[in-house]
């Protein structure tokens, strides 16, 4: 994972509450096999008119916000579906940090797995940032995870909080699976003494189990089969 230490960039304002992950990446893009290339799909239904023509009414399409890397938005951002495609799309589009009064739990967590910093600021500060972003073309902010502040070049500066462990992981870009694997012994030990006991895992009626030996090959319309 790409570490996050300090980032300065152009701010784009998305003035909506409760932006759900269905809006961030619509369902038709959940059929991918890789994590790459989701930038094009970000806010797809809002961002494009039919034929993937940019919708001039959508804020990210305004020339003044081209190249934005900090998304300023409202409360409960990222609610709904657990799809990690949402942070993949934000990152691939170019966003490294988000600023909002609050986030949905699963989305918030998914951001940290992808090197995106979701900053929580109180409503009043978010309101102020919306004002500044709208007033000043080219408005930029610096988000500093080391000293836990958001600031602009005209002296506006506010602290924010992040859990210390999450901060450390993001600063160092740690692979948290690697961290967990260091505790292999404890995991194995837990499996031995699990209070629910091995009995609960026993497959008692194996007749419902599908045969494992074959892989179904899916025929496609227009001929051809995938390589299974």
């Amino acid at each position: 994972m790409q570490p996050f230490t300090k980032h300065t960039g152009l701010v784009a304002p998305l003035d909506r509450v409760n932006v759900d992950t269905d809006q961030i990446v619509p369902k038709q893009f959940l059929k991918a096999l890789t994590r790459e290339g989701f930038g094009r799909t970000l806010f797809y239904d809002w961002r494009y008119l039919p034929g993937e023509k940019p919708n001039p009414d959508f804020v990210l399409n305004w020339p003044r916000y081209r190249g934005a890397s900090i998304l300023l938005t409202r409360s409960n951002f990222g609610c709904g579906s657990s799809r990690e495609h949402a942070p993949w799309a934000l990152l691939d589009y170019g966003f490294r940090a988000i600023i909002a009064p609050s986030y949905a739990d699963i989305f918030y967590n998914n951001c940290f797995k992808n090197g995106i910093l979701p900053v929580v600021l109180p409503d009043a500060h978010v309101d102020e940032l919306f004002r500044r972003t709208q007033q000043r073309e080219g408005y930029r902010l610096t988000v500093d995870l080391e000293d836990l502040t958001v600031s602009d070049d005209s002296g506006w500066r506010q602290p924010f909080q992040v859990d210390a462990f999450r901060r450390e992981c993001l600063l160092k870009g740690w692979d948290d699976i690697g961290l967990t694997l260091r505790f292999e012994e404890q995991i194995a030990e837990y499996e031995r003494r699990h209070p629910v006991s091995a009995r609960m895992y026993e497959k008692v009626d194996a007749t419902v189990l599908p045969p494992q030996e074959s892989i179904h090959r899916y025929k496609r319309l227009g001929g051809g089969e995938g390589e299974a």
């Binding site: 909506r16 509450v17 409760n18 759900d20 269905d22 619509p26 369902k27 959940l30 059929k31 991918a32 096999l33 890789t34 239904d45 409360s75 409960n76 609610c79 709904g80 579906s81 657990s82 990690e84 609050s102 949905a104 699963i106 967590n109 998914n110 797995k113 992808n114 210390a164 462990f165 692979d175 948290d176 699976i177 961290l179 967990t180 694997l181 505790f183 404890q186 995991i187 837990y190 209070p195 629910v196 009995r199 609960m200 895992y201 026993e202 497959k203 008692v204 009626d205 007749t207 419902v208 599908p210 494992q212 179904h216 090959r217 899916y218 025929k219 496609r220 227009g222 390589e227 299974a228």
Partner: protein, 475 residues
């Protein structure tokens, strides 16, 4: 010992490792996967040269993109086909049990888990799907995770987790006839808001919750995430044990009794403290219909489309204005005068046998209104489908003019061919009325199965409590 909540008991029983200032490492008893959110996790595993630690605790199913008819025909959707094949390959390579779209146990992941008895009280269950909260109906700590976490669980059977806050939602008294679990949970969401449960695990309690069948309890827990809570739970009781006994993945005989004895210990202790307590009066709950673009934008069927000007908070006002514009609704319109184009009975919220029985009771001997373009019944699993057919429910639906399909997520998310066209309005038993959720430009109203069935017959929303087949029968 300090009294503990059910959440705390299950948490404590699953801690592998704790260290101050770090998230706890929590053991995962069951990992459910599907075609939509797992390919990148397997790819990550492969890239790092890691293995699936416990393929025996991992179960896969195809549900999100599967066609709900003509499965024997070649697939039209090539991209979905590649995803199905990836799941087949990944499960084969790692020795994971897969219920593919031709399995007689195939179905929506949150329907088949309980149905097979994979879901058991006291367990931790995760799945790369936010409606994993469904399984909490059994007294299970179950929550949705992202793909990175899917990979984490595949590799380690554990997840680093921060402890959530707890919220008790007590629904006192009994619901009136015609009021179902869906109306209860929509009322709860309407009350606490779509972010009301953020950071919390909700425990549902009270007489109205206890009176629910397991199917109803699953409906309630399913939509916990629509209130912002990753998990919702209900203490296991005799209803739970009766549902579980004899299911394929459960122990039998004396072993089952041992399990029940353990399950009886996991309910919250008397005097356990919650961070927040919310109480509702069951008697006050009317059939619910959403009018906006999130599940918190909901009102009684006897109500009207609200006027955005009535919202005190300017942010809420703007959100309501935008929602009404998207929904094509005029403030002050009585809910019962809203005409419907399509009806969808299905999804992990409401596609179990009980849901289909209730809907069938409403449509029996009637016809879908001529103005309705499509009325779909999509059973939650092939097992539900077979059971419903045994009872003749398929005939009732077909004779009334409904389409009767194979199991899958279908029009709840519109990843297959079952899509709500732009500008059209649905009465849907699913869980999300977000913009474009059922199809770009589609307008979703969330309701209970009986309310959806009645809307199909009437062509617009109606108060199900006025119908004689409901007044006499239900609950």
């Amino acid at each position: 010992m300090t009294p503990r909540t059910m959440y705390e008991k299950i948490w404590d029983a699953h801690v592998v490792r704790e260290s101050p200032g770090e998230p706890s490492l929590i053991y995962i008893d069951r990992h459910l996967i599907h075609e939509g959110t797992s390919p990148q996790a397997f790819a990550g595993l492969r890239a790092a040269g890691r293995k699936v630690r416990r393929p025996d605790l991992t179960f896969a199913v195809m549900d999100h993109s599967v066609p709900t008819k003509d499965r024997h025909l070649p697939l039209v959707d090539q991209v979905a086909a590649a995803q199905f094949e990836a799941l087949e390959r990944n499960c084969r390579e790692h020795g994971i049990t897969l219920f593919n779209m031709f399995s007689r146990n195939q179905g929506i992941v949150h329907i088949i888990g309980p149905e097979l008895g994979l879901t058991q009280p006291g367990q931790t269950i995760v799945c790369g799907d936010s409606h994993t909260s469904t399984h909490g109906a059994f007294g299970t700590l179950a929550f949705g995770i992202g793909t990175s976490e899917v990979e984490h669980v595949l590799a380690t059977q554990c997840l680093p987790q921060f402890k959530s806050k707890t919220m008790l939602v007590r629904v006192n008294g009994r619901c009136r006839p015609g009021i179902t679990a869906k109306d209860i949970i929509l009322s709860i969401i309407g009350r606490i808001g779509i972010a009301g449960g953020t950071g919390h695990v909700i425990e549902y309690a009270g007489e109205a919750i206890r009176a629910l069948s397991m199917e109803g309890r699953m409906t309630v827990c399913n939509m916990s995430i629509e209130a912002g809570a990753r998990a919702g739970m209900i203490a296991p009781d005799e209803t739970t044990f009766a549902y579980l006994e004899g299911r394929p993945f459960l122990p039998r005989g004396k072993d089952f009794q041992v399990a029940v004895d353990y399950w009886k210990t996991i309910a919250s202790d008397a005097g356990a403290q919650y961070d927040r307590v919310v109480e509702l009066v069951a008697d006050d709950i009317a059939p619910q219909v959403t009018w906006g673009t999130n599940p918190g934008m909901v009102t009684d069927v006897t109500g009207k489309v609200p006027d955005p000007a009535s919202f005190a908070d300017p942010v809420d006002r703007k959100a309501a204005e935008r929602a009404l514009e998207y929904m094509g609704l005029v403030p002050g319109t009585p809910i019962q005068e809203i005409p419907i184009d399509r009806v969808f009975i299905g999804s992990c919220t409401n596609s179990r046998l009980e849901d289909l029985r209730l809907a069938a009771r409403v449509v029996a001997g009637k016809r879908v209104a001529p103005s309705i373009k499509q009325a779909l019944v999509v059973p939650g699993s092939m097992v539900v489908k077979a059971q419903a057919e045994k009872e003749g429910l398929d005939k009732i639906f077909r004779e009334a003019g409904f389409e009767w399909r194979d199991a899958g997520c279908s029009m709840c998310i519109g990843m297959n061919a079952d899509v709500l066209p732009s500008g059209e309005r649905s009465a849907s038993t699913s869980n999300r009325n977000f913009e474009g959720r059922q199809g770009k430009g589609g307008r979703t109203h969330l309701v209970s199965p009986m309310m959806a069935a009645a809307a199909a017959i009437a062509g617009h929303f109606v108060d199900i409590r006025d119908w004689p087949e409901v007044r006499t029968a239900v609950q």
